[in-house]
Symmetry: C2
Subunit: 258 residues, 2 copies
Amino acid sequence: MGGRAIIAGAGALPGLLAAAGPALIVRFEGAQGGTEGADLVARFEHLGALFHGLKARGVSELCLAGAMRRVHFAREGVDAVTQALLPRLAHAMGQGDDALLRLVVGIFEDQGFVIRGAQDLRPDLVARAGVLAGQCGDGADSARARAVLAALGPLDVGQAAVAAGGQIIGIETLQGTDAVLRFVADSAPGSGGVLVKRAKPGQDLRVDMPAIGPDTVALCAKAGLSGIELQAGHVLMLDPVAVVAACRTHAINLWAVP
Amino acid sequence: MGGRAIIAGAGALPGLLAAAGPALIVRFEGAQGGTEGADLVARFEHLGALFHGLKARGVSELCLAGAMRRVHFAREGVDAVTQALLPRLAHAMGQGDDALLRLVVGIFEDQGFVIRGAQDLRPDLVARAGVLAGQCGDGADSARARAVLAALGPLDVGQAAVAAGGQIIGIETLQGTDAVLRFVADSAPGSGGVLVKRAKPGQDLRVDMPAIGPDTVALCAKAGLSGIELQAGHVLMLDPVAVVAACRTHAINLWAVP
């Protein structure tokens, strides 16, 4: 059995995955999350060196974890492997973050690495169906938000929506869940609504699983929401104990449905 | 032929409609837009008096114009006509603004008044297909925003969406177009994207036609957008000269498509 490496971005997930067993921590220079504590510092310009370094250390399985937005890319000084990938990278960059992520996954797979999802390494982080904090608040608002996400799913838009009083008051766009919660806090405070967070149909759950953390709960409280509904089996809690504690602190109901 | 009355809310529309010909201006006490300049001041508690007053003045056609959000309603001192309508009003209030508006329209129609749309009185305010300012910016972004609105339409959600670089960065919710433009300005500044504004399939264009004004254009500029696409025949410009001038000032393309 080969070793494992975690390609680590920003946020709490890389640390939670590292706790799942021995793993090499790889961080990219100039990416979100910095390079502190990395076992291996990689550069997008030197992907050949990264592949070589991983293989030399006996790594066969990879876990991509944590937010990693596009970083500056220096076209000068790229190695031969990166050079050969440049046309595909440039094309994917023009199509947005999802396309770029799919390409990166494909590149690692082409090199023989097996991609493992966070839910594989830490199934205990995945929301299971049922009431997780407070009581089940499922009702007209969550049904309405789910309907909006179902309608948008085929367009690869919308991982979260907020409904209150039967009306939609927030739909997640590219800027993410925190941004839509700040929007609701600003434009419809004290609504008592519900945040529904689900995976998009096309989402690669191995590398891009929806996640909430205690900060998400705090933002929901700031937006005056009364509940959070997660899609069971499709959303990570980072970490579950802290998320549930935050829900109790802020008197927010938390539950998961299929 | 009977006379015309304009039930006037906030904004520029009531004034623009009044210019279309003689009309009695009705304003509600406590509603947005105030009661200044009204020929008749009405109260929601005294709908019987309003119907009587309109008929006494020979009014047969009504135009509901301008934003009018829910106002405080005093259950004490309602007249018999309002009293009889209370159960329906209370029910509609629980279902949101659209339901309330449909009910109000129905109540006026039940009284024999004919509802006339703003586009009827001022067809010159309606966006016609073609380039209205700058050049036609129709492309991948506007197509993407249109697809989102088409998906949400059956749910009676979304009258506007913003796309940039092929990605959706804003979807209008209950809070309205200005709110989503402020969201884009805050969370994705300088995107160079496009605002697409269209009617929802279920929207009653006689009383609730989508509209943009020079302030909308200024907010688009603040959000760093490069263009605005309207649904031809379904969106009002308040007023067209000012809207086009604002587009030129802010170097924003404006066009309308079917």
